[in-house]
């Protein structure tokens, strides 16, 4: 006899664990299945920790606004220190064109109620003291965005979900579904079979494979990114700095000082490096440090402590794929490297999809993430 649950979540990561906690708090009997030996062991722990509502569309803006609320109030609500810091985000502009694009985006962002301002190079130098002002035209600054520790938040979600009686099966791989027309009747793993009312695909890198088991073709393609972290120093800078320029070998790169005082940095390689390969390459540090020190020479003596590699499960348009397919499968995949910042908000949204409690705003949000969209739009801030 297969064990019966209200909800089975595939993937104990940035999306799966928050969803599990929220569902369990709504009295759902939840099972989370993951191939790893512990929660958050794929890309959740590799997130750099930045959280912003500064996106370009209603869906992501609103999910992340909710995430920020949850993270900001986490300690008060749950008691755990997750290292939340309202340090803000900034997108400096170095060309007239970038300045124009950013300012146009700001209008849309203002219309969604985001607190985002334009600062002059001098004002920017107050926020990021010592920033190279050569060709700098100014920057956006969204002070309500912030950061926290993916490791601490991930663990906090996990422990609270255990308290809420969520069950976890680690080291277990989902290998197929038993289907009856468009309904998943059983989830089959390499160790057993389980039944549930709802099945949530939160499998990150493997979102496409899991969806395929239900006969769906979701365009999720992992791309490799590398990141690094330095030794800690006393606080000297505030917002995340996102340099959107394109340079040989790379698109944007970004860095910030986390709550421990360490600089965390990451770069988007160009062309993208498709696939899943967690091994570090010799190209990352030379490429990323060159751009970073050009923008912020003050960092030159700071020592790199560790680097790592993870994946952005990308979709063609840079928007997640979230929504119900068939009778009882909810896909929540293709987070495009933003699973950590979307996770807390997404956990609540998924819960409302599951319990059929969608609000008007939720419906609006889910339009951006519709699995059946044509993927031709482009996210400006991906």
């Amino acid at each position: 006899m297969a064990k019966v649950y209200d909800v089975i979540i595939i993937g104990a990561g940035s999306i799966g664990v928050p969803a599990a906690l929220n569902l369990a708090l709504r009295k759902q009997k939840v099972l989370v299945i993951d191939v790893e030996t512990a929660p958050g062991q794929q890309n959740n722990k590799k997130a750099i920790g930045g959280v912003r509502a500064t996106h370009s569309d209603y869906g992501k803006i609103n999910v992340c606004k909710l995430s920020i609320e949850i993270m900001k109030n986490w300690q008060e609500t749950w008691g755990d220190d997750i290292g939340w810091l309202s340090n803000g985000y900034s997108y400096p502009a170095y060309t007239e064109e970038d300045e124009k694009t950013l300012k146009e985006q700001m209008e849309i962002q203002h219309s969604y109620g985001l607190n985002i301002i334009w600062v002059s190079p001098e004002e920017y130098n107050e926020l990021v003291p010592g920033i190279n002002k050569e060709e700098l035209r100014g920057s956006t600054y969204s002070p309500e965005d912030g950061s926290c520790s993916p490791l601490l938040l991930g663990s906090a979600y996990y422990f609270h979900s255990l308290e809420a009686k969520v069950e976890y099966c680690f080291r277990e791989k989902v290998i197929g579904f038993d289907m009856s027309q468009s309904k998943i009747t059983r989830v089959i793993t390499d160790k057993g079979t389980y039944s549930s009312g709802m099945v949530i695909n939160a499998a990150g890198n493997y979102g496409r494979e899991i969806a395929a088991m239900a006969g769906l073709n979701l365009p999720v393609q992992p791309e490799n990114h590398e990141a690094g972290i330095t030794e800690p120093v006393a606080r000297f800078m505030y917002p995340m700095v996102v340099d959107m320029r394109i340079r040989p070998g790379s698109e944007n790169f970004y860095f910030y000082q986390n709550n421990e005082g360490q600089i965390v940095f990451c770069i988007t390689p160009m062309p993208p490096i498709l696939g899943i390969d967690n091994r570090s390459t010799s190209t990352f540090l030379p490429l990323c440090t060159k751009r970073m020190l050009e923008v912020y020479p003050r960092l030159h003596n700071l020592r790199v402590r560790r680097t790592w590699r993870g994946q952005y499960p990308m979709t063609p348009d840079g928007f997640p794929i979230v929504g119900k397919s068939g009778d009882n499968l909810i896909n929540a995949v293709g987070m495009c490297g933003q699973g950590f910042m979307l996770g807390p908000g997404m956990g609540e949204l998924i819960t409302r999809i599951c319990l059929d409690e969608l609000t008007e705003s939720d419906v609006h949000i889910l339009q951006s993430f519709n699995p059946e969209r044509d993927f031709s739009r482009m996210e400006a801030f991906k």
Partner: protein, 689 residues
Amino acid sequence: MEDHRILKHPILPIEEREDVLFTWNGEPLLAKKGEMISSALIANGINIFGHHHKDGSAQGIFCANGQCAKCTVIADGLAVKSCMTAVTPGMEIRSLEGLPELPDTAFIPKYPPLEKLEVDVLIIGGGPAGLSAAIELGKYNINTLLIDDKQALGGKLVLQTHKFFGSEEDSNAGMRGIEIGKLLALELQKYPSVQFWLNSTALFVFSDQKVGILKDGIYKLVTPHIILNAAGAREKFLRFPGNDLARIYGAGAFQTLVNRDLVRPTNRLFIIGGGNVGLIAGYHALQAGINVVGLAEAMPQCGGYKVHSDKLKRLGVPIYTSHTIINAAGKETVESITIAQIDSEFKPIPGTEKSFACDTLLIAVGLNSLSEFTQEAKEAGIQVFSAGDAQEIAEASSAMFNGKIAGLTIAKEYGKEEVEGIPSEWYAKAEVLKSHPGKIKDYQKDLPEQGVFPIIHCLQEIPCNPCTTVCPTNSIHTEDDGLMSLPVYSGNCIGCYKCVLICPGLAITLVDYRNDKEHPIVTIPYEVFNIPKTEGEEIELVDIDGNPLGFYPIIAVLDVKKSHTQLIKVQVPQTIAKRVASFRIQAKEISEPLSSPLISEKLPDEAMVCLCERVKVGDIRKLIKSGITNLNQIKAITRSGMGPCGAKTCENLILQLLREEGIPTENIVSNTLRPLFIEVPLEKFPDGD
């Protein structure tokens, strides 16, 4: 201020060095030109370099090897590892209190392109194994790059002032480690196909088959076809309440300070661990003029060679077997430690506690192979070999031998047809050289009380034979002519002292009945003559175990400069002549315990596991008890292993805790291996144009 420099050493030359003025927290002090900041501070009696930003705990020297960051100070405004940064004239050095400030920089630096090169073989580590392998590769003219993170070749050999064990023919037994290191380095330079980079640290073997190396502060990418990991080992740490006090560290750090930098970091040293590393460190301490209060070993017998432990006992250092450390106490640095006897299950027996005043605690509880480069190379798909301690923990004599084997294996692998097969007896010998000590036997019986002959106070089977090869009349053999068995005297001694001088254990005396049969002359080797012994002085003679045999005057001191050894002659009654093994040099009072033991209120779970991020045993144990057995998850929750040393110290302690809690090995998930091996400034990496 008391000078903490070693001004007199029986083995090491003390060279005149220029003084350099620097300031410490505003106070002017003198350093020696070119020396590391840490040693300059210790020479001036400064042992607290700052306070940790998390809990304000005192920080000081720990690894003396650039691996951790506990010795960080602010030098001319910049946070630096004091053990890796040389003092410059006028340098303003400050203690690091909390997190350092990052200074502002006005300039926009320009970066040159990174140097990239290809080599056939990359050897990581220029110690006994790496050097021996490189020499073999040199003989076959294979393009080899050997890198070492120190300023001189030789690895840990350069810190070994004692004579080496092993076999004379294969591993230069009887020579001092420092001399062997120099000999190998010299030989290496004969081979033009081998280049070596000093001050060069391998940072990671990347997946694109490039090895990132920081050479003299410049980052380079090397693509090797084959890698030999000869990077040695790292020391294990121990958990006990108070293990996070300043002035607790390993033998490597101690030997670096004492034998490389010639500073005296302690006046009263206590040692935990009776393996060869701990025993030898104790001996080195005596040679540096440091009082060794005692040595504790958990097992009923020291794991190191008996000749090493005998040597310490005879000189007056008590060895407490079946004892463990209960705690270390002190305000910021160690002021006292408490040991207790343990039962067969290694549990301390209440009532057996003894406390000792000491200012430094040396932890020598074993080594772990430095295996990460091997693992990284495998993951990158590069053919990789390992030798020396990186392969298996053993003596340097064994490292030299298996380095040779590795070198030849690689040459063969590389397609050098002319490489003959490695003789099978090489493998056999490599096995013998890494043997653990064997049986303890009795003294040789039936030696006549006439003439002159050696008394061999070497009663434990160890892989060592220089006494047998040095004898000009061929009068010493091992029992079965094998390397491991005990040497026995068999005939025609001419009293040349060669065996007395070469024995690495200082375990041969010469008894001469020729002048006065009733009062023979006993000749004892001595190499702690920083504590001078002169003719006429009464010394307390002791037997092999350090038991007193009475006071007798020295009748002669022969200075054998070439072997840095003195021969001390005494005339004693026939009844004790054969038992005289040495004499006490350290006064009994030095090793007296405190009148009553200081029982700490701290529980074992208050011991620190992660010194970098200040994570205690209790925090980790709680997680393990809740079912968490993945080191990555433990790290995520506690930050244990996320500090500057990169889990080099805590990982092993956490694994021990997991075992202690009964977690089967197959359920334990190890830390994921990530770059970089050590922290490196961002400015080293940009690939400029």
